[in-house]
Symmetry: C2
Subunit: 357 residues, 2 copies
């Protein structure tokens, strides 16, 4: 078995993740074979240039299973027994499907299975939301079981690199505890907060700011998918929800009694938690500052602003545009390193831009 990824790569399940992986493989020049229980999804994915329909005599080097959690074990088992390809999957939970597959194939066959999980997604789903760039710079867990063939592990790691992901290697059970904390718990907290908004008076909801939008955004995701994820990781999620329940009781008592010391402890732990999250690309978090610029609502003006910022020589780390269809001038927020903000503000003003301090 070679660990060089030469294809063909078969993608089983042409939803958001499967089609995005297929597009990334096509971008690298690999042959991609597509399978889905829904023929219209395969048609859409082939139409996007993600590959061709798989034929019975195809012999893939690597099979990527990208189906909903409930169907993972069936699809992984089918791929393992259908030929001699290495098989991976991109499911959100690793230990339960592995145990299921291990009970259905012999140990020699199981050596060809290596689970994985890219930390990328969207509230949107389906092949039309797919992008070859979806995984760029994102963490991607590779979770080999103890009997996995090292060459099979290397092949899956090669797929991660090809897709632009950043590999994180973890045991399956370890992975499941990690995502319970970094993904499943945040999701459920967002769901509980969003659930309290339903049915609230519109004049109350009119006071919604950016905070509640950010906290609840992920709660818009597909409930059918999340039922399956939670079902497959019930143990780790239940443990963490129990911890949150204890903390919630402490919090309720602290708010009710206006216990400043207890509130300080809880709020301080929250601040420490936000600082524990690594920077976007694994690097340290650098202090940023927002610079606001008024931009007339003509198409060419934004280009002129970026042209000027480029000439000034300050790197724009991120941009937000606040369009209001009713106004002739939009507000553009440029995120730059804190110690470059004053230079950018002064230089933009001297070029005639209206900035806001």
């Amino acid at each position: 078995m070679t660990s060089e990824l030469i294809g063909p790569v078969e993608v089983v399940g042409t939803g958001l993740l499967g089609t995005s992986i297929a597009l990334a493989c096509r971008r690298a020049g690999l042959e991609v074979l597509l399978t889905d229980v829904a023929p219209e999804h395969v048609r859409t994915a082939t139409g996007l240039g993600a590959g061709r329909v798989r034929r019975p005599d195809d012999r893939p080097q690597l099979v990527v299973v990208a189906v909903p959690p409930d169907h993972l074990a069936d699809a992984i088992t089918a791929a393992l027994v259908a030929g001699d390809a290495v098989v991976t999957d991109v499911g959100s939970v690793k230990a339960a499907p592995l145990a299921d597959v291990a009970g259905r194939v012999d140990p020699a066959t199981l050596t060809r299975y290596v689970g994985s999980h890219p930390m990328a997604g969207s509230e949107r789903s389906g092949p039309l939301a797919a992008s070859a760039a979806l995984f760029d710079g994102r963490p991607w867990a590779v979770t080999p079981h103890q009997g996995a063939d090292p060459a099979a592990v290397d092949l899956v790691a090669a797929l991660v690199r090809l897709c632009g992901g950043v590999e994180a290697r973890l045991a399956p059970e370890e992975h499941d505890r990690a995502v319970a904390r970094t993904s499943h718990l945040p999701h459920l907290a967002a769901v509980l907060v969003a659930g309290r908004l339903q049915g609230a008076p519109p004049e109350h909801l009119a006071l919604s700011g950016q905070g509640v939008r950010d906290v609840t955004r992920v709660a818009a995701s597909d409930p059918a998918l999340w039922q399956q994820i939670l079902g497959a990781n019930a143990g780790a999620v239940t443990d963490l929800l129990g911890e949150v329940r204890e903390q919630l009781d402490v919090l309720i008592a602290a708010v009710r009694d206006s216990d400043r010391a207890a509130l300080e402890t809880i709020l301080g732990a929250g601040v420490a938690g936000t600082l524990a999250i690594p920077g976007k690309h694994g690097g340290p978090v650098r202090p940023m500052r927002s610079v606001f610029v008024s931009v007339p609502d003509h198409p060419g003006e934004l280009a002129r602003l970026f042209g000027d910022a480029g000439e000034i020589g300050v790197n724009i780390e991120d941009v937000h545009i606040d369009h209001d269809p009713g106004r002739p001038v939009g507000l553009t927020e440029l995120l730059v390193l804190e110690d470059e903000a004053e230079h950018l503000l002064g230089a933009l003003e001297s070029r005639g831009w209206t900035t806001h301090r």
Copy 2:
């Protein structure tokens, strides 16, 4: 009393909100007088062009109290008895400070007080983070008590308009119940989730994706400020936390028992809640799609991309730039109306841009 805002406007407390209001008033040509217990904050604010230091013989038309919640009642009372100005404040909680002030001034004086609360802020604080554009298009609650002088209410509404805010008029108690739901509860949920990250193994935290970053972002805010906010709105917040505790118990049982029907109900309520939040500028939420474009990491390239997008004639609703210092090419995400995405993709490709589907 005239309800035309002609100034001078006195701002008491030159932190993020106070200095931002001062800058917006200066932008409109009004005279602004600044006061703060910390002289270095006033110096910074005057240095930013937010106004001048208040002198004893100044006679402001409107006083804006922008001090921490614990000091609101003292500062509002002091401003009311110091002269005949209309007095407002920008505190996050309205009923408790009003009751406190009402117990300390006579009813005739109280007619000149009208509370308010702009729904704008930042994890950052202090005058250096201020911007005249902070309130642009944001909701801003105006919360007159029953005895408030209608002309005073009109004057505060004029300040909201001058700052670019969108007025929402609510009774003080109503306001406090609304922000408990749309601001205080989301904040506390973010704090509880972030608190579970503290001390987690780095290899677990390496799997952090955009979801947990969004859910926990607001938990980075100043604990000292939030202790005061929660202390002043303890009743409404405790009620809502009690509701969440009940829902959490239902959720824990549903996850533990893998009760799909119960999970469906809870997750579905979350989806409905996200849809209940009004659009960014109060309008309907329009379906958007992300278009990904590779942009070489030279300053002029971003300008060329926006120039081309402008010529293609597609309105860019928002932009995200995913810089990775280690790569020569950055990834730019353009958010556009869903039905314009294909046109933009094709037109950019024909101009030689590398897009990602």
